[in-house]
């Protein structure tokens, strides 16, 4: 298992952002769904090794990120796209991706080729030499995805990766996800259920810091059938039904 999480918690003062999450994920595309404030981003930041857990056990790529050496080794094999990605306005798209390739300690000889490939994969080939300040929001998002995949990561963490992408780019991105998921663990945090349906082999739904559903997209769809839950698509209905059930259970408890 590339991701092995047991009873993971994270507190920010009195707020418990992640409350006893357990999760295992191997190769494939793993969708992390949930409403705003469910704890998806905090969970992803812990998996990205930038936020230490308050308690629980976290193993990534067979290593314990609590120790510096293993953490560094994980980071070499990690791709991460934060929810709010900043950028260096004076850098070109290629420089931005190259910069992170070097920070990920890729062998310098492989960097130029890897950068060109990553830029091509996200469809920014013709904008490689453009300064980031001149790119649109969607293009910046793609530059962010390029830096995340430049090192061919074994664990790829994407927080709202399709935000700002146009429909055509979103379709292409899902294809890219499916391809990456054949050899790596890709965890996609999103609130767009169609992304999950199109690209994910597994899905977990978080609410109030807990995982309230874990299964395949088809199983999530099945949870919504015949419940009369709100939603335009089967996945949305499953999503709504699971959330409603979890919240009513929490209220009873």
């Amino acid at each position: 298992m590339n991701v092995d999480i047991t009873d993971l918690t994270r507190r920010f003062g009195r707020t418990q952002a992640v409350a006893g999450v357990s999760l295992q994920a191997g190769a494939g595309v793993f969708g992390l769904l949930g409403p705003n404030g469910a704890g998806k981003t905090s969970l992803l930041r812990m998996m990205a090794t930038v936020l230490p857990p308050t308690s629980g056990r976290l193993r990534l790529l067979g290593r314990d990120p609590g120790s510096y050496g293993p953490r560094r080794e994980i980071r070499r094999r990690l791709g991460y796209l934060p929810q709010n990605l900043g950028y260096y306005p004076g850098f070109t798209a290629a420089e931005f991706v190259e910069y992170f390739a070097l920070l990920k300690e890729m062998p310098p000889g492989q960097v130029p080729r890897a950068v060109a490939a990553a830029i091509e994969h996200v469809g920014l080939g013709d904008k490689a030499r453009a300064k980031l300040r001149t790119l649109s929001g969607g293009m910046l998002r793609r530059a962010g995805i390029a830096q995340a995949i430049v090192n061919q990561p074994e664990l790829l963490l994407l927080d709202e990766p399709t935000a700002g992408l146009d429909p055509e780019q979103r379709v292409a991105f899902r294809a890219l996800l499916r391809d990456l998921g054949q050899r790596a663990t890709v965890i996609v945090s999103t609130h767009l259920v169609e992304d999950v349906g199109a690209a994910c082999t597994e899905v977990a739904l978080m609410d109030a810091g807990k995982i309230v559903f874990h299964g395949t997209p088809d199983e999530l769809i099945a949870r919504g059938e015949g419940t009369g839950a709100a939603g335009d698509a089967p996945l949305e209905r499953g999503y709504s039904a699971v959330l409603a059930a979890a919240r009513s259970a929490a209220a009873v408890a």
Partner: protein
């Protein structure tokens, strides 16, 4: 976006240690290319021209005087340092300001290493700009025929100061990733330099000598002309500033996200080493004492630095007497010859008349006060020794109200000569000596009425300022001056020994 049908080869080979410098070099290249420092360089260049170069050209064309303003008083540092601190803070706060802290932290390369690359690029731009600005200024000085040698040690101090500003500013930005970090760092840098300058005005010795804009240092009258620039104080200041730079950079490696435990321990050691270096430098500066050639720090001093600079003098003649100056003063040789000619003619043929006149190094007792005797006469055969470094030479003189006129300079030389010739030394001499001195000056073209003012402007000995050209001294001087030249000459020849011994009274004058 396309599916990765032709994905690059996976690279799961162990990292070779030889790849680390190459990675660092590539990071540095990117940081150099996209650094914010070049954007502010035109502003710094304009300020440098206005505040460092332009005022310096109002001083005489000698490196020691030209650079007293911009290097000694540290205007080059004041013009550049605060801006560098501001830009460095801007760069140091970049990841936090731009919302990239998480992304950078999630990479394998220690954050401290990445930050050092960003800082290094900023510092390289800043120091390179400083060196280019100073280099252009010195090249222009050389084109203008400025005499002496450039104060390279003080250039090194300035470059280290710029480095220290960049490091300190960067640390401010790294710890406070806000858009306000840059202006605050710049203002703090300016304030520090202003306080350093003010402290320098009042503290001419002790620990305050370590401050980079304290002008009380090696900027003695003949530094780099007769003697090399002493490196003692610059070395101490470089230690101090480098210590600050190292400590500031070490501080950026202390936070938990900066790197692993070993790296953070190393950062702590680096910080302590920087603090120790700065503290040792302050201690060394407090032991500094002023020698005849500049500031000496016993623990750093190399006696070889005291060896005079060899040179081929520039020579001419005044009233038949050879006059030789240091080549740095070559442009003033006609002025010196013109000043000496009338007084040498007055005493020609008398015993003790100089066989030659030569320039000697000025010996200062302190930074700006207590000059010694400008002109002395002695030896066998008698040699007139002039320490012109104590005088304002004809032309622009920097801190004077107006340029020094040739006549003003000539009068100072003639007065110094007359004082030396009658044996008055550094003081006002005996009444007899004063009277003969006044008569000699009168013969050299300085009216009695103008002499008290001349002596007041050049007075450097003890006692009250000279009064008006009246009284028994000037009465005796008038009597001597009205004698025919041959008679005056004969009287002087007969009484010169007694006169120089101070035994001649006014009544004994003709």
């Amino acid at each position: 976006m396309t599916a990765a049908t032709a994905a690059p080869v996976r690279h799961r080979t162990p990292r070779a240690t030889s790849a680390i410098p190459l990675t660092a070099a590539r990071l540095l290249r990117t940081e150099l290319r996209r650094n914010a420092m070049p954007w502010i360089l035109p502003l710094i260049a304009a300020l440098f021209w206005f505040d460092s170069y332009r005022p310096s050209t109002r001083t005489a064309p000698l490196y020691v005087l030209r650079t007293f303003w911009n290097m000694g008083q540290g205007h080059t540092i004041i013009d550049i340092g605060p801006f560098v601190a501001g830009v460095a803070a801007w760069m140091g706060s970049r990841d936090g300001r731009r919302g990239l802290a998480d992304l950078v932290t999630a990479t394998a390369r220690p954050r401290w290493a990445a930050q050092l690359a960003t800082w290094a690029a900023t510092a390289i731009w800043a120091v390179a700009a400083y060196l280019v600005f100073v280099g252009v200024m010195f090249a222009w000085y050389a084109h203008q025929g400025v005499g002496g040698t450039p104060p390279w040690w003080w250039v090194a101090v300035g470059a280290t100061a710029v480095t220290a500003f960049s490091a300190a500013g960067f640390a401010v930005g790294a710890y406070w990733p806000s858009r306000f970090a840059a202006p605050v760092a710049a203002f703090a840098g300016f304030l520090a330099m202003a306080m350093s300058s003010q402290t320098g005005f009042s503290h001419i010795s002790g620990w305050a000598l370590i401050l980079p804009t304290n002008s009380n240092g090696n900027f003695q009258a003949d530094s780099g002309i007769f003697y090399p620039w002493l490196p003692d104080l610059p070395v101490a200041r470089i230690m101090f500033l480098a210590g600050i730079a190292v400590a500031a950079l070490g501080l950026t490696g202390l936070p938990a996200r900066a790197g692993g435990p070993w790296l953070r321990r190393a950062a702590a050691v680096v910080t302590l080493a920087g603090v120790a270096s700065a503290a040792i430098a302050v201690g060394l500066a407090s032991t500094a004492r002023l020698s005849a050639h500049g500031m000496v720090i016993p623990a750093l001093h190399d006696a070889a630095s005291d060896a005079p600079v060899t040179y081929t003098p520039a020579c001419g003649r005044a009233a038949g007497v050879p006059v030789c100056l240091n080549p740095a003063y070559r442009r003033w040789l006609p002025d010196v010859n013109g000043a000496l000619a009338p007084v040498l003619a007055e005493v020609a043929g008398l015993p003790g008349t100089p066989a030659r006149a030569t320039q000697v190094a000025a010996a200062y007792s302190s930074g700006e006060v207590g000059a010694g005797q400008v002109i002395t006469l002695g030896g066998h055969p008698p040699v007139l020794r002039m320490s012109l470094g104590q005088l304002d030479m004809p032309g622009p003189c920097g801190f004077c109200d107006e340029p020094v006129a040739t006549k003003q300079f000539a009068d100072q030389i003639r007065l110094g000569f007359a004082q030396a010739f009658v044996g008055a030394g550094n003081g006002s001499g005996s009444p007899g000596q004063q009277a003969v001195q006044a008569a000699l000056l009168r013969g050299a073209g300085i009216p009695f009425a103008a002499q008290p003012k001349l002596m007041a402007t050049t007075k450097n000995g003890p006692g009250p300022p000279p009064g008006p050209a009246t009284g028994p001294v000037y009465a005796a001087a008038r009597r001597l001056a009205t004698l025919p030249a041959a008679a005056r000459h004969a009287w002087l020849a007969a009484h010169l020994a007694a006169l120089r011994a101070g035994r001649l009274t006014l009544k004994e004058l003709p």
